[in-house]
């Protein structure tokens, strides 16, 4: 046996996966293929994080920590010197909260499209350009806007009826695959109030990862009869789908305070 393959075999025996050919494909679920979320426990459940080049979907009702989780993700990415984009259809991004979550606002592109169709077009433009390892698309459209969601001049996303159609999500997923970016879509599921937003617009099978946030409790500090203070939220993340991952049924407890 030639010496080089023998050495590689020995090294791999002691350090599995440490040596590989430069042109060998990365193992699915490897760290190079996943973007860490910033939550160690969630990353374990997701085999390293959200998959690069794929569409991931975060769903949940109001006050379950969906925005906090997304901002934590942004903070984690921008803290490493990378740029990210937030496509903010409902115009709900709060810069002060983002700073508190550790987001470097100088590396975050904030886009406030007037409607859902424009949001899709903007997302595709950013993904096609490349260079953004993380693009967040918040499609939780307030009800007063939901009926008017649609491109004003047609185009691939034209019309509110087509805005949530499967081909739109496939198109975005393909754009994400081309740029190796992580596209995260924030979705609103049916809520107890159920009247705040315009109903779910799910990415369906185009999403490689689907996480659902479920509310557990709101934590108030009521010590000593003093006025109540909002301490935070406790939510549970259920991994509904983790395509290519080892597990699909992980549950992670997260606290936002």
């Amino acid at each position: 046996m030639p010496i080089a393959p023998r050495l590689v075999a020995e090294l791999n025996a002691h350090l599995p996966g440490a040596v590989r050919r430069a042109d060998a494909p990365l193992a699915h679920g490897g760290r190079e293929q996943r973007l860490a979320t910033g939550f160690a426990t969630l990353d374990v459940a997701l085999d390293g994080g959200l998959p690069r080049g794929h569409l991931s979907e975060l769903v949940g009702p109001t006050s379950t920590g969906l925005t906090s989780l997304a901002q934590r993700l942004l903070g984690h990415v921008t803290a490493q010197g990378q740029v990210a984009a937030w496509i903010d259809t409902p115009d709900a991004f709060d810069p002060a909260s983002a700073v508190a979550a550790g987001v470097d606002l100088g590396r975050l592109l904030w886009v406030r499209p007037p409607d859902l169709a424009t949001a899709f077009a903007a997302t595709e433009a950013l993904l096609t350009m490349g260079g953004f390892p993380l693009v967040l698309l918040d499609v939780r459209v307030p009800q007063r806007h939901a009926k008017s969601a649609g491109a004003p001049r047609g185009g691939p996303y034209g019309g509110s009826r087509m805005a949530g159609a499967p081909h739109v999500w496939m198109r975005l997923a393909r754009a994400a695959a081309g740029s190796r970016s992580v596209l995260v879509v924030l979705q609103r599921t049916a809520h107890r109030s159920a009247t705040t937003d315009g109903g779910p617009v799910t990415a369906g099978s185009s999403a490689a990862v689907r996480l659902e946030l479920q509310p557990l409790r709101v934590v108030w500090d009521r010590a000593g009869g003093a006025p109540s203070l909002l301490d935070g939220l406790v939510a549970q993340i259920v991994v509904l789908r983790n395509r290519g991952g080892r597990r699909n049924d992980g549950r992670v407890l997260l606290e936002f305070a």
Binding site: S63, Q80, A92, P95, A96, R107, L109, M129, G131, R144
Partner: protein
């Protein structure tokens, strides 16, 4: 041998009115094109080589020219296209030398009948340029190449004197070659040329009649048997001056290689402008955008040549009723992407369409340095600056002004305050941390999801405590409340912020941030929901 004062390069485009028209309408190349005067449209002022071959000549009436060849393409003199062509030629010069003179840029109204108002000729300070371009021939080749890039077939002459360089450029274009006169050899090179060659060295002068006067001098010299520049230079200059006048003395200095006229550099324009006058009024937006795109193509070619990008646009339209309108278009980041700029122009024109058909279009681009791609050893590479600029501009066109950029939380106490600044990730000074260091356990900051604009709410209060909240899209019994937390900010301004903030968990499960505006005196009014803890 006279002492050297520097080197001049001349870039000359003959039949400039025709060249400018062909630059504006490239599809006319190869056609017998004649350009007539703009006012009466009856006299031919310039002809293309194809038209010349079929008998068209400057000075003929259009009817006479059409009798000689019925397939002539006739265009009125487009002063806007001509001015843009002259500016483009100057840009070619500035891309090679920092000191450029636009020759004979007489005002259109001062031009003689049949004479083009712009000469299509520039002079450059060529001293030392060979160190940049390898050789003098390299300078000439660069000039020709760049002139071709903006749509001109030009001639180049390089000499010690400005007049010699101009004469050389004129001959070079006819011979289809560059003429490089060796240093100190101006007189020797000019010696064999006929006196009429000095015609190109006559500036238009204050009355624009320098060349006519020189023709008279040449006739006088011809009667003395002086036919070439060498013989003329051998004459005593005092006699020439006293017998033939000031102009003859000036020309003697040129012929003798003693031309010491300096370069008169022109100012660098603040904007790069391209324009055209239309044959007939255009009323459809698509047709107008087609024209605007062509103008943008040309203006961006000029900017690219100068290694600049466009950071702002002004589209000026002259309407059929004589009125003029302008649309100023902001560009989020300097870009050279024609598609993006056309989209921005479309957005601006659609927002406020012109009220009448358009007769003339002018596009002015504000030049700026493109963002440089400076890679960092310690940071990951971001999006390519040029593409980012184009994408940002496109996003701004899609979403509207002020909707794309970097979010900023301004200093102050207003919870709902924010600003949007231009997005420039390279300006971020935050030090990146290692991925491992950024990992945390299972706890993170609680974010607020803003509700813009704040929704007016109906709040029921019993015994000083909030019991029920109802607002568009939300409502429920208050389970837990927190507050009031009073904020009094910007009391010095016209819109001070005096609010009592509350955090309320409703029975629907949502935790909201609401406030009571203390400026509203009515007890049941002034409640707003401006955020949701999420």
């Amino acid at each position: 041998m006279p002492a050297m004062h520097g080197r001049f390069a001349c870039l000359f485009v003959p039949r400039f009115a025709v060249a400018a028209q062909l630059r504006a309408e490239p599809e006319l190349r190869g056609c017998p094109l004649v350009v007539c005067d703009a006012s009466s449209r009856s006299v031919v002022t310039d002809v293309s080589p194809e038209a010349y071959r079929v008998g068209a000549r400057p000075g003929l009436t259009v009817a006479q020219a059409l009798i000689r060849h019925s397939d002539l393409v006739v265009r009125p003199l487009d002063v806007a296209a001509l001015a843009a062509a002259q500016a483009a030629l100057a840009d070619v010069g500035r891309s090679v030398s920092p000191r450029v003179e636009i020759v004979a840029a007489a005002e259109p109204e001062r031009a003689l009948p049949g004479q083009a108002p712009y000469a299509g000729e520039i002079l450059l300070d060529a001293d030392g340029l060979e160190q940049l371009f390898g050789s003098v021939a390299g300078v000439a080749a660069a000039l020709l190449r760049r002139a071709e890039r903006v749509g001109f077939a030009a001639g180049v002459g390089i000499a010690d004197g400005r007049a010699t360089a101009r004469i050389a450029a004129g001959i070079a274009r006819r011979r289809n070659q560059t003429i490089l006169v060796a240093p100190g050899e101006d007189a020797a090179w000019l010696a064999s040329l006929p006196l009429s060659a000095l015609d190109r060295a006559c500036d238009a002068g204050d009355d624009g009649r320098g060349r006519l006067r020189w023709s008279a001098v040449v006739e006088s010299l011809g009667r003395l048997g002086i036919a070439c520049c060498g013989d003329f230079a051998a004459m005593p200059v005092d006699e020439v001056a006293s017998r033939l006048g000031k102009l003859a003395a000036q020309m003697w200095h040129v012929a003798a290689g003693r031309d010491r006229a300096p370069l008169r550099p022109s100012l660098v324009p603040h904007e790069h402008t391209e324009g055209t006058r239309l044959e007939y009024g255009v009323s459809s937006l698509e047709a107008l955008l087609f024209i605007v795109r062509g103008l943008l193509d040309r203006v961006l070619a000029r900017l690219t040549m100068a290694s600049l990008a466009c950071s702002g646009l002004t589209v000026s339209l002259t309407l059929e009723d004589g009125s003029q309108i302008e649309r100023e278009i902001g560009v989020l980041a300097p870009t050279r992407d024609v598609k993006t700029l056309t989209m921005l122009a479309r957005t601006a024109l659609e927002a406020a369409p012109p009220h009448a058909a358009i007769e003339a279009v002018q596009v002015s681009a504000l030049p700026d340095r493109p963002r440089a791609d400076q890679l960092d050893l310690f940071r990951p590479a971001g999006p390519p600056p040029a593409q980012l600029a184009a994408t940002l501009a496109r996003l701004a066109a899609l979403c509207g002004a002020g909707k794309v950029g970097q979010a900023v939380a301004p200093a102050g106490y207003r919870p709902d305050a924010f600003q949007v600044l231009p997005f420039d990730p390279q300006s971020s000074r935050a030090v990146p941390v290692a991925e491992e260091a950024a990992l945390v356990g299972s706890c993170s900051a609680l974010a607020v999801r803003a509700i813009r604009p704040p929704r007016a709410a109906q709040v029921f209060v019993e015994a000083g405590r909030i019991t029920y909240v109802r607002a568009p899209g939300l409502g429920g019994r208050a389970v837990v409340t927190s507050g009031p937390w009073r904020i009094e900010a910007e009391w010095w301004s016209e819109a001070p912020c005096r609010r009592d903030y509350y955090e309320v968990q409703l029975s629907d499960g949502g935790v909201y941030r609401l406030y009571r505006d203390l400026a509203v005196t009515h007890a049941d009014a002034g409640w707003f929901v401006d955020g949701c803890y999420d």
